[in-house]
C-alpha cells in the first residue's frame, strides 16, 4: 500500500477531523459515516454538531489519536475520525 501524503487543513478550511494536526482546534459540522453503532457512540461521547474539538496528541505509533472535548480526553482511531466533518478554527 502506497502511503498517501497527508494534506493538513488550515484555519477556516472545512474537511475531516482526521486531517488535523496536533494542537489544532475545530468545530464539528456533521457526520457522514454509515456505522450506526459508531455514530451513536460518538454522539453519546459528546461529539455533536457545534462542539469544539482539539487534537491533543497522536499515539506513539501514529494511531489512534487523543482528542479533547467537553473537558475530557477521548481516544479514537483515524478511520473513525474520517466520518466527522469539521471546520478548523
Amino acid at each position: 500500500m502506497k502511503k498517501q501524503k497527508r494534506v493538513f487543513l488550515h484555519s477556516g478550511e472545512e474537511g475531516h477531523l482526521s486531517d488535523l494536526r496536533r494542537g489544532q482546534k475545530c468545530v464539528v459540522l456533521d457526520f457522514h459515516n454509515d456505522n450506526a453503532a459508531l455514530r451513536r457512540r460518538l454522539l453519546d461521547m459528546g461529539i455533536t454538531k457545534g462542539v469544539v474539538i482539539e487534537i491533543k496528541k497522536f499515539a506513539p505509533l501514529g494511531d489512534p489519536v487523543d482528542i479533547r472535548l467537553r473537558g475530557y480526553e477521548l481516544c479514537i482511531r483515524k478511520v473513525d475520525m474520517e466520518g466527522i466533518d469539521v471546520r478548523v478554527l
Partner: protein
C-alpha cells in the same frame, strides 16, 4: 431497599461501593475488574447496593454496558446513586440527563471532590442542585469525605423526588409528552409499566429496541421537528441534552484558565513517541521479575519445604542459589510420623500426606507471587496506565485483528484466564472480542506458573529466569500468529472501532488495591483449594489402589498407570520418543486446573520415588511444559469461554485449535531434542 450504583467508567463506582459496603459484600465477583454486577449491603442497614459496569449512556454499545442498561430498566429499584466525576462534569451529566427520564429517584454522588480545588474548578453546588432538581452530595470515595453524609441521606430517604426535569425546548418537549400519552407505543421492559418518559424519548431517537411510530400524526410531527433542527431524531436528542448541560455548566461552574496538568506532563514521557514502548516493556519486565522470579523464587521453595520437608532448602535470587541445611521438618513428614505412631494404615498416611498436603502445598506455594502479580496489575489499572497501554498498542493490535483493549484481557489473563476472558466485554467489536477470547488462554496464567517454575528451576537451574521468559515470548508469538490467522477466519460485519476515554493519572490508593488483591486472591484460593485438593486425593487413590481396589505399594501396579498408558501415544513424540504413563496422567489432571499438573507430578514423585520422571531431559521437560501451557485450558476457563462466545461449537473449535497448536509445537521440540 434496593439501590444501583451507576456512572461513567473510572468515575469511582467501585471505590464508593467498597466505602459504602465495607466488608459486607454478598456475592464476590470474578477475580478481576468489575465486570458483572456485584451486590453488597450498606453497612448497618438492610439496603442492598449493586455495582454495575461503567456506562456513558443508556444506549448500550458493548455487551458490558448492556448489563447495566438492562438492570436499570428491568429491575425495580428504590434509588439510583449516580456517581458523577466532578472533574469532567460535562460528559458525566449526559448520563444524568437520561437517568432523570426514568421513573426512579436518583441522588448524585459528586465524586473526586478532593481534586476539584486542585484543578482550579469552582462548583456552585446549591445552584447545580437547583438546576438539575437532584440532591447532590460532594464526596471523595478515596479519602472517605462525605461518605457518611451520603449514607445517612440514602438510608433516611432524604433526597429530592425525581420530577423529570424538563430539559428540552418547548416544541420537542411537547412532542415527547404527546408520545408519552400515546403510551401504547412505549415498551421498556417485560411488564412495560415504568419509564414512560424514557421510552418516549427513545421513540424520538428512533432507537431500534423501541417501537417505531405508526401514528401518522406523530410521524409528521417528528419529521417537522427533524427538519426544523436539521438533524435526525438521534442527533437531535443527544445535541439537546448536551446543550442543556452546557447551559447548566455555564451557570454553575467556573474553571481556572487551562494550564499544563500533571497528567499532560507525565504523558509527555509515558506516551512519548520514542520512550513509550521501551518503557512499557521495561514496566512489564519489572512486574514479572518481581512477582515471578524474585518473590516466586524466594517463597515457593520455602512454603513447599514447610509442607513437605526437605534436607536442604535452596533459594534462588535471580540465578544465585542459596542453600540452607534444614533437615526433614515439614507438615507432611511430621503428620506421617504421628500417624505411623498411632498405627494408621500406610495407604491412609499416603492419602493425607501425598494427596492432601502435597496438593495443597503445590497450590499455596505460589500464592505469594500471585499476590505480587495482582498488586502490580492493580496499580497499573488504577493509576490509569493500563488505558494508555491500550491507547498506544491499538495500532499493533488492530493490524492483527484485535483491539488495543485486547491487551487488558491478556494482562489480566496472566493472573487467571477466567477474569481475563470476562474482561473482553469492554471490546466493542464482536470479531475482535471473539478473537481475543480465543487467545486469552494462550497467556500462561498464574496457575501455570508452577509448571514454568518447576521446569525452569529444576532443569535450567542457572538460567531459570531466561527460560521462564522464553515461555512468555513463545506465548506472544503464538498469539500474534493465531490472531493473524483468525482474522481471516472470523467474519466481520463493519469495520471495528476503538473509542476510549483517556483518564487522568491518579495516585494509587492502598486501601483500594488491598481490597482488590484480597478479593482476587481469596477467589483463587477457594477455587484451587477445593478443586485441586479434591483431584489430588483422587489421583492419590488411583495411585494407591489397583483395579480390584487392593492397596498397592508399587506405582507400577496402580490404576493410574493404566489410565496414563492409554494416552501414552499422544505424548510419545513430545517426550522425545518415550512411552510414559505419568506424563499423560499429569496433563489430564491439568484439565481440571492447571495447578494440578505440578501437584500431580509431586504426588506421583512422592509415591514412586522420582524414578518415573527420571527419563526427562531438559528438552523433553521443556516440550512437556510447552504442551501443558498452551493446550486445553482448565474446565473453569472452558466454561467461561462458552458463556462469552455464546456457542458450544465455537468453544470446541477454540479447544481443538489449542490442542493442535500445542501438540505440534511440543512434539517438534521433543523430537528435535531426541535427534540432538
Amino acid at each position: 431497599m434496593k439501590l444501583a450504583l451507576l456512572g461513567n467508567q473510572n468515575s469511582g463506582k467501585t471505590s464508593l461501593f467498597n466505602a459504602l459496603t465495607g466488608s459486607n459484600q454478598k456475592v464476590g465477583n470474578w477475580p478481576g475488574v468489575t465486570i458483572d454486577r456485584v451486590e453488597g449491603v450498606i453497612k448497618k442497614s438492610n439496603a442492598t447496593i449493586v455495582d454495575l459496569p461503567g456506562v456513558y449512556s443508556l444506549s448500550p454499545y458493548t455487551s458490558e454496558e448492556e448489563i447495566s442498561r438492562r438492570f436499570v430498566l428491568e429491575e425495580k429499584l428504590d434509588l439510583i446513586i449516580n456517581i458523577v466525576d466532578a472533574t469532567s462534569l460535562e460528559r458525566s451529566l449526559y448520563l444524568t440527563t437520561q437517568l432523570l427520564e426514568l421513573d426512579v429517584d436518583l441522588i448524585i454522588a459528586l465524586n473526586m471532590y478532593d481534586l476539584v480545588k486542585k484543578k482550579g474548578i469552582n462548583i456552585n453546588l446549591k445552584k447545580l442542585e437547583e438546576e438539575l432538581g437532584v440532591t447532590i452530595i460532594p464526596i471523595s470515595a478515596k479519602t472517605g469525605v462525605g461518605i457518611n453524609r451520603l449514607k445517612t441521606r440514602i438510608l433516611n430517604r432524604r433526597y429530592k423526588k425525581n420530577k423529570h426535569k424538563k430539559i428540552y425546548p418547548t416544541d420537542v418537549e411537547a412532542f415527547i409528552q404527546e408520545v408519552e400519552r400515546e403510551y401504547k407505543y412505549v415498551k421498556n421492559n417485560k411488564n412495560g409499566k415504568f419509564h414512560k418518559r424514557f421510552g418516549a424519548v427513545k421513540i424520538l431517537e428512533g432507537d431500534r429496541d423501541y417501537r417505531i411510530l405508526t401514528d401518522a400524526n406523530l410521524k409528521v410531527k417528528k419529521q417537522s421537528l427533524e427538519a426544523n433542527y436539521n438533524m435526525d431524531g438521534e442527533q437531535l436528542v443527544a445535541s439537546l441534552r448536551y446543550d442543556y448541560i452546557v447551559k447548566v455548566r455555564k451557570n454553575t461552574v467556573k474553571y481556572k484558565p487551562h494550564q499544563e496538568t500533571k497528567t499532560e506532563k507525565v504523558d509527555k514521557i509515558f506516551l512519548n513517541k520514542y520512550f513509550a514502548i521501551p518503557l512499557f516493556i521495561l514496566i512489564m519486565a519489572i512486574v514479572y521479575f518481581i512477582s515471578i522470579s524474585l518473590i516466586g523464587g524466594l517463597t515457593s521453595s520455602l512454603i513447599s519445604a514447610g509442607f513437605n520437608g526437605a534436607e536442604h532448602l535452596t533459594i534462588y535470587i535471580g540465578t544465585y542459589p542459596i542453600v540452607f541445611e534444614t533437615g526433614t521438618i515439614g507438615l507432611g513428614p511430621l503428620l506421617a510420623n504421628w500417624l505411623t505412631s498411632v498405627g494408621a494404615s500406610s495407604w491412609a498416611i499416603s492419602l493425607l500426606t501425598n494427596g492432601v498436603i502435597a496438593g495443597l502445598s503445590a497450590v499455596l506455594s505460589f500464592i505469594p507471587q500471585l499476590i505480587m502479580l495482582f498488586i502490580c496489575l492493580s496499580i497499573l489499572e488504577t493509576t490509569g496506565y493500563m488505558s494508555r497501554i491500550s491507547f498506544f498498542l491499538d495500532r499493533v493490535f488492530h493490524k492483527i485483528g484485535l483491539s488495543g483493549k485486547s491487551l487488558i484481557p491478556f494482562i489480566v489473563g496472566a493472573g487467571c484466564s477466567i477474569p481475563g476472558i470476562m474482561s473482553t466485554r469492554t471490546i466493542e467489536d464482536e470479531s475482535e472480542k471473539k478473537a481475543t477470547i480465543a487467545l486469552v488462554s494462550f497467556v500462561p496464567c498464574s496457575a501455570k506458573l508452577p509448571i514454568i517454575s518447576l521446569v525452569s528451576s529444576v532443569f535450567f537451574t542457572r538460567w531459570g529466569f531466561a527460560f521462564a521468559l522464553l515461555f512468555y515470548i513463545m506465548s506472544i508469538l503464538i498469539i500474534f500468529a493465531l490472531a493473524f490467522i483468525l482474522r481471516r477466519l472470523i467474519k466481520r460485519k463493519e469495520h471495528s472501532t476503538f473509542i476510549s476515554e483517556l483518564p487522568s493519572y491518579k495516585a494509587p490508593s492502598g486501601k483500594y488495591i488491598a481490597r482488590d488483591v484480597a478479593d482476587k486472591t481469596i477467589a483463587f484460593i477457594k477455587r484451587a483449594g477445593t478443586v485441586v485438593v479434591f483431584f489430588s486425593v483422587i489421583v492419590c487413590l488411583l495411585i494407591s489402589f489397583n483395579w480390584r481396589f487392593e492397596p498397592v505399594t508399587n506405582v507400577e501396579n496402580s490404576m493410574l498407570r493404566d489410565i496414563g498408558n492409554a494416552f501414552g501415544w499422544f505424548f510419545y513424540p513430545m517426550l522425545g520418543g518415550h512411552w510414559n504413563w505419568a506424563a499423560s496422567v499429569c496433563s489430564i489432571q491439568g484439565l481440571i486446573a492447571k495447578e494440578q499438573v505440578v501437584s500431580s507430578i509431586e504426588v506421583i514423585m512422592a509415591a514412586g520415588g522420582g524414578e518415573v520422571f527420571a527419563f526427562f531431559t531438559p528438552l523433553t521437560a521443556f516440550a512437556f511444559a510447552t504442551f501443558n501451557l498452551f493446550s486445553i485450558p482448565c474446565i473453569g476457563t472452558i466454561a467461561t469461554m462458552r458463556a462469552e462466545l455464546k456457542s458450544t461449537k465455537k468453544t470446541l473449535l477454540v479447544i481443538l485449535m489449542e490442542i493442535i497448536v500445542a501438540w505440534f509445537i511440543a512434539s517438534f521440540i521433543g523430537m528435535w531434542g531426541a535427534l540432538l
